[in-house]
């Protein structure tokens, strides 16, 4: 069952230099109870996408088109007054730096009680019991509820902000780079908490990240974003093992892998295009070693190329052959 279905979403930032099309026709489906990784480089629009779903865009940004179907309602068409009750109750947010989610001058207990009593309508006693249960669930000692955020380590803060996000039992949690600022051991522990919660609460989650290895470890499905669009999506196994889009193929040789010994890393030459004046054809064409005439003329649509595996590439029919060529370093030479 699809919990969230985003279709052709556009988000624009109005700047002094013009309109930045940060999200420019992105599609994403999130099945109930699954963790979907939203992966891409900085500036690809993945964080803006997450914020648009929550309806917490900065004042310079606006949703310029498309639909966000969540539990049967289109959030884009919904007035703010009707959207507000959904926020935190049905979908919650975990930001990258947990310090931003936690009030530095309030004890954790005060912050948990505020959410549980005022938004959740619980009595003080019930709310306290619930806060303790939530802390236990994310692997924190309930006694630290009496502490201030600055007394916490980075991993503890991230656990606390996950507990805060779960307070009202949402169906969907959007986590924006939740483990990026953490050390590798703490990162693993926080990812294990997220996976455990998904199993126990049948929670759906969008995990925004730039790290394909985090996706491989923690996610069921993945959507790869490039320059404001989703260029490939599907089950993690399919996308990692048989990528259909040249960008995904290039990424898999571009960063080191602990288990892979002799490999020479191959960067993708160039940089993503400006979103002020995006190219008219495929956005990756300029950096793509397989680009043909047609790629520069028309943007490819995101279509189902293999069962449950979507890609936006004019050459996806030849993906098997391109995968072989993408393995060779000279393919990507500038």
């Amino acid at each position: 069952m699809t919990l969230l279905s985003v279709h052709d979403l556009h988000v624009h930032y109005l700047t002094s230099q013009g309109t930045v099309r940060a999200v420019d026709g992105a599609d994403l489906d999130v099945p109930a109870g699954s963790i979907v990784g939203l992966v891409g480089e900085s500036g690809c629009g993945k964080s803006t996408f997450g914020r648009a779903l929550m309806g917490v865009l900065p004042s310079t940004a606006r949703v310029a088109g498309g639909s966000i179907l969540f539990e049967g309602r289109d959030l884009v068409a919904l007035p703010e007054r009707e959207r507000r009750p959904l926020r935190w109750r049905r979908m919650a947010f975990v930001p990258q730096t947990a310090m931003n989610a936690l009030d530095p001058v309030q004890r954790l207990r005060t912050q948990m009680l505020e959410v549980l009593c005022q938004r959740g309508g619980l009595s003080r006693t019930a709310a306290l019991a619930k806060a303790e249960a939530l802390f236990r669930m994310v692997g924190l000692d309930p006694r630290v509820l009496h502490d201030y955020p600055h007394q916490f380590s980075g991993g503890m803060r991230q656990r606390a902000s996950i507990a805060l996000a779960l307070a009202l039992e949402p169906a969907l949690v959007i986590a924006d780079e939740p483990v990026t600022a953490l050390d590798v051991i703490v990162q693993r522990q926080v990812l294990d908490v997220l996976r455990d919660l998904q199993n126990r609460l049948n929670l759906a989650m969008i995990l925004v990240t730039h790290d394909m290895a985090v996706v491989a470890y923690a996610c069921d499905r993945v959507a790869v974003m490039y320059a404001g669009r989703v260029v490939e999506s599907g089950p993690v196994a399919a996308v990692l093992e048989a990528p259909l889009h040249p960008y995904t193929m290039g990424l898999s040789h571009a960063f080191p892998d602990l288990r892979d010994t002799a490999a020479v890393l191959v960067p993708i030459d160039g940089a993503p295009p400006s979103l002020l004046t995006p190219p008219s054809g495929c956005r990756f064409a300029e950096r793509c070693p397989f680009a043909e005439q047609a790629c520069h003329a028309q943007p490819p649509p995101l279509i189902e190329v293999a069962p449950d595996h979507l890609a936006a590439c004019w050459r996806s029919g030849a993906a098997a052959e391109l995968r072989v060529r993408a393995m060779r370093a000279e393919t990507w030479a500038p």
Binding site: G155, M156, V184, M212, A216, L240, R259, L265, D269
Partner: protein, 319 residues
């Protein structure tokens, strides 16, 4: 038998204590390491393990509380003034964040001319040196880049400029502190390949500081693992990853996610986290988090001892 070559840089029993208003932090406690020409050493560990402080001590950016630093055999621990400036030209740093490492008002040309002027390199050599280094970092044609300012460059291009600036004075030692962590995944490989090529072709000694073992494996033959101010294990990177001896190294390796579907999701062999574990009063600093701790670990601090060829480990279990 040929005598062992003199390492480019060596730290001997280095220690650094920071006295803060309420407490004293023993950031580095008796670290000894050496790096030879053409060799790359990786230092890994969690935030707060002292890896950056160790590098800053070696670069003389921080005064050691105890211990000596030798550069090509010379003791440079007490150097100051002109003598220290000479050392600075020979030991250069590549910064983590290229967006902060360059003055936004300077053109690339001025950013690159500055170290040449500071180190007293004759003016008529400047243009040729800058051309050569731009070639090395593949910012070509150089003329197209030199009159730009940092805001016109992408992160990967800026990091190439930072690397070029570090190479200009002709260093023997390059220290790179998380050199690609601020860069996009698709361009990281380019910077790592340039660093590798510069080390190989110029015969530099290199020290990489990172929390990312996968990155260290790609660029360093040798790795030192630090925990709370001490080296707990050191050895050839491939051996260390294939067969870690210290329980902390084991946990660190188990925690690294790999970009494959098939991977080990078993619970980590480590307890709690650095911030939660109370520091051990005596004995092994890792004991509160170690699943294999024995009574001896609480009584006696394990020494860093040889454990096979070019391998050192500080653990009673591995003895």
């Amino acid at each position: 038998m040929t005598p062992a070559p003199i390492p480019v840089i060596a730290g001997e029993a280095l220690a650094k204590t920071f006295r803060l208003s309420h407490r004293t932090v023993h950031a580095v406690q008796g670290v000894s390491l050496a790096v030879h020409a053409g060799e790359a050493l990786g230092i890994v560990g969690e935030s707060g393990c002292g890896k950056t402080t160790t590098a800053r001590l070696l670069l003389r950016l921080e005064e050691p509380s105890a211990g000596r630093i030798r550069f090509l055999g010379d003791d440079i621990t007490g150097r100051h003034g002109i003598a220290l400036l000479h050392y600075r030209a020979r030991a250069q740093l590549v910064f983590q964040n290229p967006f902060d490492a360059l003055n936004p008002r300077f053109t690339i040309r001025r950013a690159l001319t500055e170290p040449l002027r500071n180190f007293g390199i004759p003016r008529d050599e400047h243009a040729a040196r800058i051309d050569a280094v731009m070639q090395r970092v593949r910012l070509l044609p150089a003329a197209a880049w030199l009159d730009r300012r940092p805001h016109e460059l992408s992160g990967g291009q800026l990091q190439r400029v930072v690397l070029a600036r570090a190479l200009l004075p002709g260093p023997r030692l390059i220290v790179a502190d998380e050199p690609v962590s601020m860069l996009d995944v698709s361009v990281r490989a380019g910077i790592l390949n340039l660093l590798r090529a510069a080390r190989d072709e110029l015969g530099l000694a290199a020290i990489y500081i990172s929390h990312d073992l996968a990155l260290i494996r790609y660029v360093c033959e040798r790795t030192a693992v630090m925990y709370l101010g001490r080296i707990v294990e050191e050895g050839a990177t491939a051996d260390l990853i294939a067969a870690p001896l210290h329980p902390y190294t084991k946990a660190l390796i188990a925690a690294v996610p790999v970009p494959h579907v098939a991977q080990d999701r078993a619970a980590l062999p480590i307890l709690g986290s650095l911030g939660e574990a109370a520091p051990a009063a005596a004995g092994c600093a890792f004991r509160p988090r170690c699943p294999y701790a024995m009574p001896r670990c609480g009584a006696e601090t394990p020494e860093l001892r040889a454990a096979g060829p070019r391998r050192r480990v500080a653990c009673h279990l591995a003895a």
